[in-house]
Amino acid sequence: MAMRQISKQQLFRLKAVLFVLALLPLARLFWLGFNDNLTANPIEFIERSTGTWALICLLVALALTPIRLISGINWPIQLRRMAGLFMFFYACLHFTTYLWLDHWFDWNEISKHIIEHPYVLVGFSAFVVSIPLALTSSNAMMRFLGVRWKQLHYSAYLIAILGVLHFWWLVKKDIREPLVYAIVLTILLGIRIYYRYRKN
């Protein structure tokens, strides 16, 4: 099948397309911002948007292995690092918005907020867990860590679970949106578990 293998050049083009696509949510925020269209509560809007896109990027990254398991197509795996790093990129924007625009670096208030409120705590935890993953994303770190690299990067699933929980506990009553992410994550995780136990 033609799609099973792609050339280096095709991969490069694919990565370039993904890169541009992944920057569109940020470009949209700038566009809406310049046109004064970030709703009546722009800070909340930016927080929501960057948080949502961090979660989406992570789910995209986590979907690539299940795609390989089901279809046998290998090349999407090569896009995983970029998707994962974009998750970290949007998570950084999300966290910065929270620290800066939302709370103006009022550390007293922020630390109380993080400790006392479960939804903030799980979101913060997800961010903290994602830092070592971003730091060890290079080929050199991959070689250096060997088997441990793989173990470490399984925590991407933990980040996704915490991220979905963060969203779930944030909404007041209408859980439909976080539910969609929860279902997608469950399916992705389910596929991996299924293939693991089928082999043994």
């Binding site: 911002g33 046109n35 269209n37 970030l38 709703t39 009546a40 509560n41 722009p42 800070i43 909340e44 930016i46 625009l101 939302d102 709370h103 103006w104 208030e109 109380k112 907020h113 006392e116 409120h117 479960p118 939804y119 506990w169 944030l170 007041k172 009553k173 209408d174």
Partner: protein, 320 residues
């Protein structure tokens, strides 16, 4: 400027009455509505607030909130929690466009001398209308300053003639699945129900609002009339009210039913009583843009001098 904008919805796009009132056709048209909704939600909010604006003929100014900076009309009418029209705060301005707040009848029932119906036109005549500029603090941590036009709730209650048994008053909102898309989804136990203790309802600060910015209340803000109790969180202000019921027992409000650990009957603004999921110590005043810091939330939303005595001796942590 907002007023200068011409309406973006051609009259051809508004669902004709026959289509709207015929359920079968309506269901067929629903696909179109969804598509139109998806397109309109991509448009900037300003382009969507195309409801007809109508001035209220006579009302008097009052001293309330004269020192406050008003939140813009646009922000007040595009950022609404009105779950009957969708749970996103941008939903009501879009989905309430075709809502018909006239003709409107309110039913007065329960512990009253004589149950009766009253039209919205007659409610306008119960007492002289007043402008009240009030702060509104949402339980989600944001606030606005809104120039309401309305009548003192006490006047409406006097008109209703409750009996001596009436200890509480319940406000029940319209739940019409044909006009209100959000009601078709069981997010809350419809109809939306709110309530006050009689002494709270009789307090001079409590009003039944029928307008804002000197104009008839826009649909997305609870047309044709909604409750405004400025020392309580915004959700206490039931919108599009169709029934007022006087009771002897404490009413169970919609949010109490939905999440009893998070919402109590009183819902007084109180920076010291945290919502279980978020802090209530500060709030963001809408309209300040990206670089506006939070402001401290005040006890009873800054109306403590006026309403504090209503809760003398009560444990506000228990009675949240």
């Amino acid at each position: 400027m907002y007023i200068a904008k011409k309406p973006d919805i051609p009259s051809s796009e508004i669902t004709p009455r026959e289509v709207f009132e015929n359920r079968r056709t309506f269901l067929k048209a629903a696909g179109f509505t969804v598509a139109a909704g998806a397109i309109s939600s991509m448009l900037p909010p300003t382009a969507m607030a195309a409801n007809e604006r109508q001035k209220i003929a006579g009302f008097s100014k009052t001293a309330y909130g004269q020192d406050e900076k008003l939140t813009s009309y646009e922000d007040i009418t595009t950022y609404n929690n009105f779950y009957e029209f969708g749970t996103d705060k941008g939903d009501p301005v879009v989905h309430a466009r075709l809502f018909k707040p006239r003709p409107w009848t309110v039913s007065i029932e329960g512990e009253v001398k004589k149950p009766r119906q009253i039209s919205i036109e007659d409610i306008f005549k119960i007492a002289p209308l007043e402008e009240r500029i009030y702060r509104m603090r949402c339980v989600e941590g944001w606030s606005m300053v809104i120039p309401w036009v309305g009548l003192p709730l006490a006047k409406l209650i006097a008109y209703a003639e409750p009996t001596a048994n009436a200890k509480y008053v319940e406000f029940i909102s319209l739940a019409d699945p044909r006009q209100m898309a959000g009601v078709r989804i069981p997010v809350l136990d419809w109809p939306y129900t709110e309530g006050l203790r009689m002494d709270e309802a009789m307090h001079p600060l409590a009003i039944m609002a029928v307008g804002l910015y000197g104009e008839v209340l826009p649909n997305q803000n609870g047309a044709p009339m909604r409750l405004v109790v400025p020392w309580k969180y915004g959700f206490k202000g039931g919108k599009s009210i169709v029934r007022i019921r006087f009771t002897e027992q404490t009413p169970v409000t919609t949010w109490m039913k939905a999440l009893p650990k998070e919402y109590g009957f009183y819902a007084n603004v109180n920076p010291k009583v945290s919502h279980p999921r978020w802090s209530q110590s500060s709030e963001r005043r809408i309209g300040g843009g990206l670089l506006s810091p939070r402001i401290k939330t005040q006890l009873f939303n800054g109306y403590a001098d006026e309403v504090g005595q209503l809760y003398a001796g009560m444990d506000l942590h228990k009675n949240f």
